[in-house]
């Protein structure tokens, strides 16, 4: 079992509130990723769950039991640290055994668990080496191994991939996902990399300034971000935001003026817009398509990044920045003018507080 429930969790260092009223329910076996910019409190939240930091208010429950007063050692959790935090003066085997020895486990069982973890992580070949003699990827495995042998109720991973090079990161990411599938235990994973979050998570918790902005599956966050922050944080490159005015509301439809007067129409659904309201329209760079329609808004290209499989265009549209990811290789140069169709892509409309009012997913016919 590895069910973790946070109720109104607060944490402050002196006068500085780092976590503000965090409510979160993590189900057994779930892979939850905390993501957010640096300093948003995601690592502090993880350390609070681990018991390494005391909460200033609220309650943490593991499997239905309040653990606020329980020490880190007795919460039954295991943590993988960003720096791996392997004991430099111990061999890999001793590193794995340390936690088990401390819980007075019989020698035979320790050996058995270590061997099993070593097999699973393919680190058998260097069990007698010191961490200093291992490569980054190997250390990473040992750090995960140290968590696995404990058979914890939940794994807490604090940016475990950030010290690896790009290629290794991708393969280790896949291995982590496979590992989670095999172990089936709850995992809480902290990262600032939204790609890691998108690929690994069952649910993503987006945090900013000590608060949870949104909790949801990766695609929920991508398709229906709760606010501008989540919209901008999830998805790479980030979403384009254009200032817009509501020109006219008639029944189900609203007409918006974006990018210096260009009109788009959106279906309101449940949302309410008032004519004259200032809003922000968000559109993902991947959803933009080049248009031949002379009425489509024109973008002045500042920079072209040809990546081979796709082309990233940095441009200006009526004084605002605009990113577009176009498929394949485009014959475009800096200084060119290109027109994008804004009527076909999904549009997100945010109010001036940044909350999403509506997402309009398709072309109006």
């Amino acid at each position: 079992m590895g069910e973790i429930k946070l109720t109104d969790v607060k944490k402050s260092f002196g006068a500085l509130a780092v976590l503000k009223d965090i409510d979160l329910h993590i189900k057994d076996g779930e892979f939850v990723v905390f993501v957010g910019p640096s300093g948003c409190g995601k690592s502090t939240l993880l350390r609070t769950i681990a018991g390494l930091e005391k909460v200033s208010g609220g309650e943490i429950q593991i499997d239905g039991k309040r653990v606020n007063e329980v020490t880190a050692a007795d919460r039954g959790l295991a943590m993988v640290f960003q720096s791996y935090a392997l004991y430099p003066h111990m061999s890999v085997r001793q590193n794995l055994a340390f936690g088990l020895e401390n819980s007075n486990m019989p020698k035979a069982e320790i050996t058995e668990r270590i061997n099993e973890a070593a097999r699973m992580l393919e680190i058998e070949a260097y069990m007698d080496r010191r961490p200093g003699q291992l490569s980054g990827g190997q250390r990473q495995r040992v750090a995960i191994g140290r968590a696995i042998v404990r058979r914890p109720t939940a794994f807490l991973l604090d940016e475990p991939l950030s010290n690896l090079d790009a290629e290794l990161r991708v393969s280790t990411r896949a291995e982590l996902a496979a590992l989670h599938g095999r172990l089936g235990s709850t995992m809480i994973y902290v990262t600032h990399d939204q790609v890691e979050a998108m690929t690994l998570a069952h649910r993503i918790v987006v945090m900013r300034a000590g608060q949870i902005e949104q909790v949801g599956t990766p695609l929920e966050l991508y398709n229906e971000p709760a606010n501008r922050f989540v919209a901008g944080f999830i998805g790479a490159p980030h979403m384009n935001f254009l200032k817009a005015d509501v020109v006219e509301v008639s029944g189900e439809l609203a007409s918006l003026s974006v990018a210096g007067g260009y009109r788009v129409q959106v279906r309101l659904g449940q949302a309410k817009l008032n004519s004259g309201q200032k809003v922000t329209v968000g559109v993902r760079p991947q959803h933009l398509v080049v248009s031949n329609d002379p009425l489509s808004p024109s973008v002045k290209v500042r920079l072209v990044e040809a990546l081979g499989s796709e082309t990233v265009i940095h441009g200006d549209i009526a004084g605002e920045k605009m990113l577009a990811v176009l498929p394949g290789q485009q014959r475009l140069n800096a200084g060119d003018e290109v027109r994008f169709d804004l009527t076909t892509p999904p549009l997100h409309v945010f109010d001036d507080n940044g909350f999403r009012l509506l997402t309009y997913a398709g072309q109006l016919t």
Partner: protein, 354 residues
Amino acid sequence: MGNVARFILRRRGAHGSGKGWHWTDIFTWVWLIGGLIIMFGPAVWLMFSSLKTPAALAEFPPSILPYVTSQATVEGYDKPLMLYDAKMPDGSTRVLAEVRRIGLVAQMVDPKAPGDIVKVNINDRSPVRIMSFATNNYTEPFVHFDFLRYLWNSVFVTVVATVITLVVNSMAAFALSKYEFKGRSVAMLVILATLMVPLSVIMVPLYSIISTLGLFNSLWGVILPTVATPTGVFILRQYMLTIPDELLDAARMDKASEWQIYWRIVLPLTAPALAVLAIFSVVWRWNDFLWPLIVLSRRELYTLQVGLSIYSGELNVQWHFILAMTVVTMIPVVLVFIFLQRFITTGIAGTGLK
């Protein structure tokens, strides 16, 4: 050997060619050789001097090597006579033994033909000197002087004081570097401030404490007041600050108690700093003189340094014994340094973390 010589004799040379001499070469050589003489010279001189006879020690001008005037037993004379190279009026030089000296004239005999007395002006003779090592400077104290007793006392004081110093100071350093508590920096400041208090200031109160505790005339009275050193706490604390907190957190997640964290994680990683402090502590305790002199008044409790002072009496200083025993007392310190210095350079910490 060729490589070693090449390494040592390597120089920049004129225009960086490796040939000839650049001024930096000359400067380096002068600097290094000068340093060698300044650092090593006194120790070498001490070692040679410790092998001199009392007469050779009193000689002026002093010599580096232990020379003595050679002597010969001549028939008809009870005591051995000093041998001299004497210049004869005909210009030849003969080895003669001096019988006695009257004013500027020495009465000398030929050791082979002791019958004739030859008168030689003292300016025309010079002593025949041979190198001789007065090893009884070393052997005699072992027999007459309670050297082994004093050695044991010194070793006991040094080893026990060093062990306690390392344990106590590392505990204080651990708390001061790894725990957040109110007054942490004040505590550190107070500890550091005691560095400024010299022994002579606290000698009297310390003495009354020791005497009240009944530690007077006990080796523990020498050991205990010295074990908490601000320098040690400072060195260890600074080193422990470099140990990442994540390691401690990892240990906590691994169900380690705070004692285990200290004993199994922090202490092994502090080994290089502990080695440095161990060297200091050994040298301090071994060379301690004033405090043991105050606390210990019974001869059988004397440490070596106090014991050595027996040789410098009010009227007569037996330099030859003092020098020889000084060399002996230097040996353990030098050995400790040689042994632990290697340990420092192969510092094991910091290798496991990126």
